[in-house]
Subunit: 329 residues, 2 copies
């Protein structure tokens, strides 16, 4: 082994072992100094300080992140809904009856308002029509292809470029300090898994989300998993602690969200026996991103905002606390 | 940092990076030389050989292990059933009606044959009565306490000492070669998680198993997860590939089982695009352990044995291939 590599590796290990050595100011360059950033670095310094009263062993440093609105933008519509609409358009030639049937008719006409007026039921119909009835491998490749090319209607960027730069830094910073990072999203688990490793550094087995049923089948002797038009699990609100328990089997010590759908996850984490970090990303920047909270139909933050204030959880004011929002490239 | 430590760490890294360096004979000391051991070391050498045609990146080196009969003994009854029977006995004073009601009456009288004659339904009743109706934390501590003290009826050993020494070596060997090891068991996920890390080196988030429903609840403002008497998922037979997909989200390249309940998992792994290792532990040693296969009600290996032979999967003959069965201490 060449000597430079050897020194580099040894140094990396030394820093890794010494945890708190990298808990300092060089990390999180896109975060302005202030209460939010301080609460993060303070927390990490405490739980990584060997022999300290708040020390947590690396294996137990579990951090869970909501996705939509926490790691990437969710306006004007959830990315997965944009995917579903595109899929409905792509599949329409196989389903001529959709031209006359709601919510498909509205979806095909790009009439998003009518789709939304159909409520949860309409959205569910679009999701099932576009997400079920194929094998898991077929769906994975469809999702992968779409995310590689689709662009945000307002910014024209790829969706994977509309992730929050400060949160990417936070993910890396936590991992450098021995944390294992998980996504815990209301979004579809199989919609996220094809790209989370590349974009967030989070491998498929650390992604938790909503799911539909799958069924094992031998097709001409070849085993496949078929996606059924039946909901298996909704990983939102009270479902988040359930999903966390089911997949991880231990309580996280840090959780990050942006909406009321994340409140139970934060409550669950705050109820742990040791030190914990509960953080809400508050969308306050109408210029660089979007400003919304209590009245929004997407990513509503109302009850959660009150509870966060009452309990002293960390609230990130995107406008104040973040130097930049999206990666610049 | 002291110099010895530095050298030790550097050496560890060097070995880890060089993968195949530790794929050789010093590993697996409890395995006799022969076809089974060869198939393992050959497979590991191939998938870790950088630049080789079968190379697999470390993150994708997923290995899944059945538990009962594959990693620890499952005779004369599944360990979890022994736990359920002990719990029914412990809870009996709170349920006086059990003295007259089957299958509880038989369980309390230690009449295992009658319990078994009641079939799946009887066993399910015992499981629900002993596994549901408490919080996840209460159940975890009950399972943890039980496994720390309960002893096997025949050997008098703790159940965690009735794990297979050659399989412990195999787990460690695979991890040393960059594999991520998972349990994929028909047994209860929350029955296993409290002790798998200590015994197998497998953390809770890498344990997949059968589960009952849980529900998030605020009790006097304190969030808890309550275990309901309702089955969520049976992680057996066709459920195993489904559970693998749900939890891991990618296809393992190696799978280890001992019964027909593992067949679909092995089929799923064998159907991957690259090189794979499918291995059955065959219980052939009536003296040191138990000998059973096609006719056994526990851990039946019939269809799986035929398919393994037909497809050239690895079959471990416990009597021939293993120098020792259980850890000696």
């Amino acid at each position: 082994m060449n000597r430079f590599l050897l020194v580099a590796i040894t140094l990396g290990i030394a820093l890794g072992v010494a945890g708190q050595a990298i808990a300092q100011s060089s990390a999180l360059p896109s975060w302005n100094d202030g209460a939010a950033k301080n609460s993060i670095t303070h927390f990490v310094a405490r739980v990584t300080q060997q022999g300290g009263p708040d020390y947590v062993a690396p294996g137990e440093r579990i951090a869970t992140f909501d996705n939509d609105g926490t790691l990437w933008a969710e306006q004007p519509i959830y990315v997965q809904l944009a995917f579903a609409l595109d899929r409905v358009r792509a599949l329409a030639p196989l389903h001529p009856q959709w031209e006359k049937k709601q919510p498909f008719k509205a979806a095909l006409e790009g009439d998003l308002e009518s789709v939304m007026r159909g409520g949860e039921h309409a959205i569910l119909e679009l999701l099932m029509a576009s997400h079920a009835g194929m094998t898991t491998e077929e769906f994975e490749s469809t999702a992968r292809d779409w995310i590689a090319t689709a662009r945000h209607p307002k910014t024209g960027r790829r969706y994977t470029e509309m992730v929050y730069q400060p949160m990417l830094e936070l993910l890396a910073y936590l991992r450098a300090n021995g944390f294992k990072t998980f996504i815990v999203s209301g979004g579809g688990i199989e919609f996220m898994r094809p790209w989370t490793e590349e974009v967030y550094g989070i491998p498929p087995e650390q992604v938790i989300g909503s799911s539909i049923e799958t069924e094992f089948e031998l097709r001409d002797g070849k085993p496949v998993l078929v996606r059924l038009a039946e909901i298996h699990f909704i990983d939102d609100e009270a479902g988040k602690p359930v999903g966390i328990h089911r997949h991880i089997g231990r309580r996280p010590i840090a959780a990050f969200g942006n909406s009321d759908g994340d409140l139970q996850m934060l409550q669950w984490v705050a109820a742990g026996s040791g030190k914990s970090l509960c953080l809400y990303v508050h969308h306050t920047d109408a210029e660089r991103e979007w400003a919304y909270d209590r009245e929004s139909s997407i990513g509503r933050l109302d009850e959660g905002l009150d509870e966060a204030k009452a309990r002293g959880w960390t609230i990130v004011d995107m406008k104040q606390d973040w130097k930049s929002i999206f990666p610049s490239h």
